[in-house]
C-alpha cells in the first residue's frame, strides 16, 4: 500500500491547524476561484502545511460533483403531486412545514384564485385532530385581522387526509425583509406584528410556534406598503386543542427550539400568551441584529438554569442594540414568565415608547434583584413599604423631594400605619431599617439614577410585593392592595389591575378563596380592568364573584353588598332594577352609613338611575357628593368624580345651565389640583363641553372641545379616548354652528382614531355614519357616497345612525336631481335586512314618498 505524505493516516501527525484550515476553506468557497491564491498566500508563510492542505481540499472540492449529493425525491406517492386535494388542484409543491406539506393550488369555485393548501402530515391526522380541524374552520374564519393569514377552508379528502386552505402569497420571512429597512422602520414593522398577535390573543388563540418563517412580509401587486401575514396561527390552535398526543405523534413537536420559550421546552402545561411574547422577543433581536441572543445556558442542559440567571446577549450583538432596546429584548425573553411583558400589546407599546424617545418600562434587572434580595431577607414589615410609599406619593406633591424629606416621612408612616388595616402585631414587628434599605435602593446618590417617577415606583413595589412575599401571602395581600389603590387613584389602571389580581392570589393563598379579602381584591381587580378598558370576560367574572358572596356570606354583609353594587352595572342581569335602587339604603341600614362602601354605592347606583332618567339618581349623587366632600375634601378625586356624574345627570334632565355651572367649577378645581392632562380633569372637561353644546351655547362648547383636544394631545402618547372624544366634540361644535365644511376633517379624525383604537367593527360604525351625514351637509355628495358604501359593508348595531345617514344622503341625492340614485340606495338598504322593524318601517315610508314624488 502506498503511503504518501498525503496519505489518509491520521492527519494530526502532520501538525495541521484544522480550525484555521476549515476557516480558510470556507472563506475560499465564498470567493471566485481566481482569488483563492491571494487568500491563501496571506497565511502561507506561517502555516505552510495547513495552507497546503487547504489548497488540496479546495481542489478536491472542485471534483465533488456527484459526491454526497441531495437525495433524489423518492418516487413513491408522497413525492409526486397529488392530482386533487378535495375540490382544489395542486400546481406545485411549495415546501414542507412542521405540520405537513404545502402546495400551491387553484380554486375554481366560487371564484378562481390561487390558494395555498397545507396537508397534514401522517401521524397528525388522527380522528381527533381531524374532527377538531373541522370545528376550527368556523372559528378560524372569524380571525379576521388584516395581518393574519385568512383561512378559507378546511376539509378531509376521500382517503382521509386532512387539509387546510389559505390565501396564497409570496414574500420574505420578516427577518429577511427587515434587513433592507432602517432601524425605526424595523421597529415599526415589529410593533405591527405584535399588535396582530395581540389581536388574535384577545380571541383566546395562541400561536405557540412564532418564528420568522411564520411571519411573512410581502407586497401586494401594485402596492407600495408591505403587508404582513402571520401564518400557522389557526393550525397551532387546532392542533393544540386536539390534545397532547400531537406532541408525540410527529418528530416535530410544537415550537421551534430556537424561538420556543423555556416553559415550552420543558413541556409545561401552563403556557400562555406570554409564551408568544418570548418568541416575539427572539424575533425582535433577530430583526435588529440578524442573530439570536445566545442564552447563558445551552438549550440541551436542564432548563432550570435559564430561569435563574438573567440571560445576556452575545457581546457583538450588544453593541448594536443600545440600552433600552437591549432591555426590551431581555424583558421579552426573560426566563421567568412573570417578568416578561404580559402581552404582545405591552411589548409593542414599549417599542413605541422607544421610538418616541420616552423611557421604556423594561428596567435594568439588577436594581430589582438588589431590592428584592434586601426585602426577601426580612420577611416582615412589608406593609411598611407600601404605606411609606403611599405617604410619599399622596402626602408630597412631586417626587423630586430629596431623600431627607423621604426619611422624615418615616414618622408619618408610623402613624399612618395605625390607620391601615394591618394587624397590630404585624405593625409592631416592623423593621424600621427596612425602610432605609428600600430608600437606599432608590437613592440617587447610591444608584446614580434619578428617583423613578411614581408609576414606575409603584410598579416596582408591586413586583416586590409579589416576589418577596411568596412565602408570606398575608402581608403580600396587604401591600399589594394598598399599591393597587394608589395606582388606581393615579389613573394607572392596567397596573392597578395587576396589583389587585396578585393581591387576590396572595389573599387566596393566605386566607382562602372565599375569604372576603380575596373577594374584595377580585372586585378591585375587575374594576381596574374595566377602567383600563379591558372588557373581556368581565361579566362572567362579576357573576362568579356575586355567586361566591351569596354562597358564603349573609345578604347584608359588606362584601356581598359591594358585589351587588358593582353587578348592577357590570352584570345587570344578576341584579334587577329595583334591587339595585335599594342598595344604598340597605347599606345605610346595615350600619355602614358614611362608609366608603356607602359612598361608592351612591355613586354607582345614582349614576345608573340618572342615566335611565330616574330622578332618584340625581338625589343619590347629591347625597354622595356631600359625603365625599366631608371624607375626601372638596377637591378629592372621589368628590370631583361625583361632580362629573352629577353634571352628566343634570344634562340628561335638560338642566344644562346648572350642569354648566357645576362643571365649570369642578373642572377649574381639578385642573388646579391634578393638572390639565389627567383622566379626571379631561372627563370633567368632556362633560362641560357636552353640556354647553347641547345647552345652546355652541361657541363655548366648541371652545371647551378644542381645549379638551389640545390637552389630550399635548403629550405623547396622546390620551385616548379623550383625544378621540375631543375630535368628535369639535366636529359637533362646528356642526351646531352650521360650519359643516370645518366639521368634516374632525369627523374624519374621529373615525381614524377609532379605527386605530379598536378592531371591533361595530365601534367604527357610528363615527362613519356621522361622517356620511356631515359630508352630505357640507355638500360633498360623492365622498359621502363612497363612505356610505364602506358603511354598508360592515354590519352591526346602531342602525339608527346608519338609517339617518342613508336618509340624509338620499335626500341630498334627490335635491341634486338624482332621485333615481336616491331610490335605489334606499331600496338596497331595505333589501339588506339591516334594520329592525320600526326602523324598517321608517325606511319604507321614505321609499314610498320618494317613489311617489315627481
Amino acid at each position: 500500500m502506498n503511503r504518501s505524505s498525503r496519505s489518509t493516516g491520521s492527519p494530526l501527525a502532520d501538525a495541521i491547524d484544522w480550525s484555521l484550515a476549515k476557516r480558510l476553506f470556507s472563506e475560499a468557497l465564498e470567493l471566485p476561484a481566481e482569488e483563492h491564491d491571494a487568500l491563501l498566500s496571506a497565511h502561507r508563510a506561517e502555516h505552510r502545511a495547513t495552507v497546503q492542505r487547504v489548497a488540496s481540499l479546495l481542489e478536491a472540492h472542485g471534483r465533488t460533483d456527484g459526491f454526497l449529493v441531495e437525495p433524489k425525491p423518492r418516487d413513491d406517492a408522497d413525492a409526486s403531486l397529488p392530482n386533487r386535494i378535495g375540490p382544489y388542484t395542486p400546481l406545485e409543491r411549495l415546501g414542507e412545514g412542521g405540520f405537513g406539506v404545502v402546495y400551491r393550488a387553484t380554486q375554481t369555485e366560487p371564484i378562481a384564485r390561487d390558494v395555498a393548501i397545507k396537508v397534514l402530515r401522517t401521524g397528525l391526522d388522527t380522528p381527533e385532530v381531524v374532527a377538531r380541524f373541522r370545528d376550527e374552520r368556523q372559528y378560524l374564519a372569524q380571525l379576521d385581522h388584516s395581518d393574519v393569514v385568512t383561512i378559507f377552508d378546511a376539509g378531509v379528502t376521500e382517503d382521509g387526509t386532512a387539509y387546510l386552505v389559505m390565501e396564497y402569497f409570496e414574500g420574505d420571512p420578516v427577518t429577511n425583509f427587515a434587513a433592507r429597512l432602517t432601524l425605526s422602520e424595523r421597529l415599526r414593522l415589529f410593533a405591527r406584528v405584535c399588535r396582530a398577535v395581540h389581536a388574535v390573543h384577545q380571541r383566546g388563540v395562541m400561536h405557540r410556534d412564532l418564528k420568522p418563517s411564520n411571519i411573512i412580509v410581502h407586497h401586494a401587486p401594485g402596492d407600495d406598503t408591505p403587508r404582513v401575514r402571520i401564518i400557522d396561527f389557526g393550525i397551532a390552535a387546532a392542533v393544540q386543542r386536539a390534545g397532547r398526543d400531537t406532541m408525540t405523534a410527529v418528530g416535530a413537536p410544537l415550537g421551534t427550539p430556537r424561538y420556543a420559550s423555556p416553559e415550552q421546552a420543558r413541556g409545561d402545561a401552563g403556557v400562555d400568551t406570554r409564551t408568544d411574547v418570548y418568541s416575539l422577543g427572539m424575533i425582535l433581536c433577530e430583526m435588529l441584529t440578524g442573530k439570536l441572543p445566545r442564552q447563558a445556558s445551552s438549550r440541551d442542559a436542564p432548563v432550570d438554569t435559564q430561569a435563574d440567571r438573567p440571560s445576556t446577549l452575545h457581546p457583538p450583538e450588544r453593541s448594536r442594540l443600545r440600552g433600552d432596546l437591549d432591555r426590551i429584548v431581555l424583558k421579552a425573553i426573560d426566563g421567568t414568565i412573570d417578568r416578561r411583558y404580559d402581552s404582545a400589546a405591552s411589548l409593542a407599546d414599549d417599542v413605541g415608547r422607544y421610538l418616541r424617545g420616552e423611557p421604556v418600562l423594561a428596567t435594568k434587572p439588577s436594581v430589582l434583584y438588589t431590592a428584592s434580595k434586601f426585602v426577601a431577607r426580612r420577611r416582615t414589615a412589608s406593609a411598611l413599604i407600601g404605606v411609606a410609599l403611599l405617604a410619599i406619593v399622596s402626602g408630597l406633591a412631586t417626587l423630586s423631594i430629596g431623600i431627607e424629606r423621604a426619611r422624615s416621612a418615616e414618622r408619618d408612616v408610623r402613624s399612618a400605619l395605625d390607620r391601615v388595616s394591618v394587624e397590630r402585631d404585624r405593625a409592631d414587628a416592623i423593621n424600621a431599617f427596612l425602610l432605609g434599605d428600600v430608600i437606599d435602593s432608590l437613592n440617587p446618590d447610591v444608584t446614580g439614577q434619578p428617583i423613578p417617577p411614581t408609576n414606575a415606583l409603584l410598579a416596582r413595589m408591586s413586583d416586590l410585593g409579589d416576589e418577596a412575599f411568596a412565602d408570606n401571602p398575608a402581608t403580600a395581600q396587604a401591600l399589594l392592595g394598598r399599591v393597587g389603590h394608589a395606582q388606581r387613584s393615579l389613573g394607572l389602571y392596567a397596573d392597578a389591575a395587576r396589583s389587585h389580581e396578585r393581591e387576590a392570589e396572595a389573599s387566596s393563598r393566605a386566607f382562602g378563596t372565599h375569604d372576603e379579602r380575596t373577594l374584595y381584591a377580585r372586585i378591585d381587580a375587575l374594576l381596574s380592568r374595566l377602567s383600563a378598558r379591558s372588557f373581556d370576560g368581565a361579566e362572567r367574572e362579576m357573576v362568579e364573584i356575586v355567586r361566591l358572596t351569596q354562597d358564603h356570606f349573609a345578604p347584608d354583609h359588606p362584601v356581598a353588598l359591594r358585589a351587588q353594587v358593582h353587578a348592577s352595572h357590570i352584570a345587570p342581569d344578576v341584579v334587577a332594577g329595583e334591587d339595585a335602587a335599594e342598595l344604598p339604603g340597605r347599606i345605610e341600614h346595615a350600619g355602614l352609613a358614611g362608609s366608603d362602601l356607602h359612598i361608592e354605592s351612591l355613586m354607582i347606583i345614582g349614576d345608573l338611575l340618572a342615566r335611565s332618567g330616574d330622578p332618584r339618581g340625581l338625589d343619590m349623587l347629591l347625597r354622595g357628593v356631600e359625603l365625599a366632600a366631608r371624607t375626601h375634601g372638596a377637591s378629592g378625586v372621589v368628590t370631583l368624580d361625583f361632580a362629573n356624574r352629577i353634571g352628566r345627570a343634570l344634562r340628561a334632565l335638560d338642566r344644562h345651565e346648572e350642569a354648566i355651572a357645576l362643571l365649570e367649577e369642578s373642572y377649574a378645581d381639578a385642573r388646579r389640583v391634578y393638572g390639565p392632562g389627567t383622566q379626571l380633569t379631561l372627563a370633567l372637561l368632556t362633560q362641560l363641553s357636552l353640556a354647553a353644546l347641547l345647552g345652546d351655547r355652541p361657541d363655548e362648547g366648541l371652545g371647551h372641545a378644542q381645549e379638551l383636544y389640545a390637552n389630550a394631545t399635548e403629550n405623547t402618547p396622546p390620551n385616548e379616548p379623550f383625544a378621540s372624544i375631543g375630535a368628535m366634540l369639535i366636529a359637533r361644535g362646528h356642526e351646531e354652528l352650521g360650519h359643516y365644511e370645518e366639521a368634516v376633517p374632525w369627523r374624519r379624525e374621529r373615525l381614524d382614531r377609532m379605527l386605530v383604537a379598536t378592531t371591533r367593527v361595530d365601534e367604527h360604525h357610528v363615527p362613519r355614519a356621522r361622517l356620511v351625514t356631515t359630508l352630505v351637509r357640507a355638500d360633498r355628495i360623492a365622498e359621502a357616497e363612497t363612505e356610505f358604501q364602506d358603511l354598508r359593508k360592515a354590519g352591526g348595531p346602531h342602525e339608527q345612525f346608519r338609517l339617518s345617514a342613508a336618509l340624509t344622503l338620499a335626500q341630498a341625492l334627490k335635491e341634486a336631481d338624482r332621485a333615481g340614485d336616491a331610490l335605489s340606495l334606499l331600496e338596497a338598504e331595505r333589501d339588506s335586512d339591516a334594520y329592525t322593524s320600526d326602523l324598517a318601517e321608517t325606511l319604507q315610508t321614505r321609499i314610498e314618498a320618494l317613489s311617489d314624488a315627481p
Binding site: 489518509t8 470556507s26 481540499l57 465533488t64 459526491f67 454526497l68 413513491d76 397532547r244 418528530g251 445551552s298
Partner: protein, 209 residues
C-alpha cells in the same frame, strides 16, 4: 459503543420515553439500551430496504428514521410526550443504530471486491441509497473516513452523520446541534471535500484489481 448488557439496569425496558430523557441526561446505560431498542426497529425495517428485496418502495434513511420515531414514540392520547431536548438523544441513537445495520450488512456481503474505478458517479447523501448503489467495500471505506473526520472536526462529523445516516436536512441539523444553518452548511462542504479526498486516496492507493 457496545457494552456488556448484563449490568445494564435498563435491560428489557421498553419505556422509550424514560430511556430518552435518561439518555439525554447523560446516563450511558440508558443510552445503550436506547440504541438497542432503536436498532431493533430500524433493523427490522431496513432489511426490507436493502438491495434485492422490495427495492421499489425504498424509504431512504429519512423515511426510515421517521417511521421508527412514530413507531416507538406514538403514545396514547393524554400521556406526556418527548421533550424537545431529547430529540437529539433520539437521533444520535438512530444514527448509531443505522450505522450498525448498514455496516453489518456491508461486512456480511462480499467485502473483498473493491469498487476502485467502478465507483458510481453519483453517491447520494442518504445511507441507504448510498449503500444500495456502492460496493460494500466502498461503503465501509466511507464510514471509516467519517470516523477519521471525527478526529479532526467532531462537529463536522456529526453533521455528516445526522444527514447521511438519519436523513436530517440542514435546517434540522442546525436545530439539533444548536448552531446556525450557515455553520452547518460550512461544515457540510468541508466534510464533503475531506471525505472525497479520503476516498480518492483510497482508490488511488489500491492496486488495480
Amino acid at each position: 459503543m457496545e457494552h456488556q448488557s448484563d449490568q445494564n439496569p435498563y435491560e428489557g425496558s421498553g419505556d422509550v420515553t424514560r430511556l430518552l430523557s435518561a439518555s439525554s441526561g447523560g446516563d450511558e446505560a440508558a443510552r445503550d439500551r436506547l440504541v438497542e431498542v432503536v436498532y431493533a426497529e430500524i433493523h427490522r425495517m431496513a432489511r426490507g430496504q436493502m438491495r434485492g428485496e422490495r427495492a421499489e418502495h425504498t424509504l431512504g434513511a429519512t423515511g426510515l428514521v421517521h417511521e421508527t420515531f412514530l413507531k416507538l414514540f406514538k403514545a396514547p392520547a393524554g400521556e406526556g410526550g418527548m421533550m424537545w431536548s431529547d430529540r437529539r438523544a433520539f437521533f444520535t441513537a438512530a444514527v448509531t443504530a443505522m450505522r450498525r445495520v448498514l455496516v453489518d450488512h456491508a461486512r456480511a456481503r462480499d467485502a473483498q471486491k473493491r469498487g476502485g474505478r467502478n465507483r458510481p458517479a453519483r453517491i447520494e447523501a442518504d445511507a441507504i441509497a448510498a449503500a444500495n448503489s456502492m460496493s460494500s467495500a466502498d461503503f465501509l471505506a466511507l464510514d471509516e473516513a467519517i470516523s477519521r473526520l471525527e478526529e479532526i472536526d467532531r462537529r463536522a462529523a456529526e453533521v455528516v452523520r445526522l444527514r447521511f445516516y438519519a436523513g436530517r436536512e440542514i435546517k434540522e441539523v442546525a436545530e439539533l446541534l444548536g448552531v446556525s444553518d450557515r455553520t452547518v452548511k460550512r461544515d457540510w462542504e468541508f466534510a464533503r471535500a475531506t471525505l472525497f479526498e479520503s476516498m480518492s486516496h483510497d482508490a488511488a492507493s489500491e492496486p488495480e484489481a
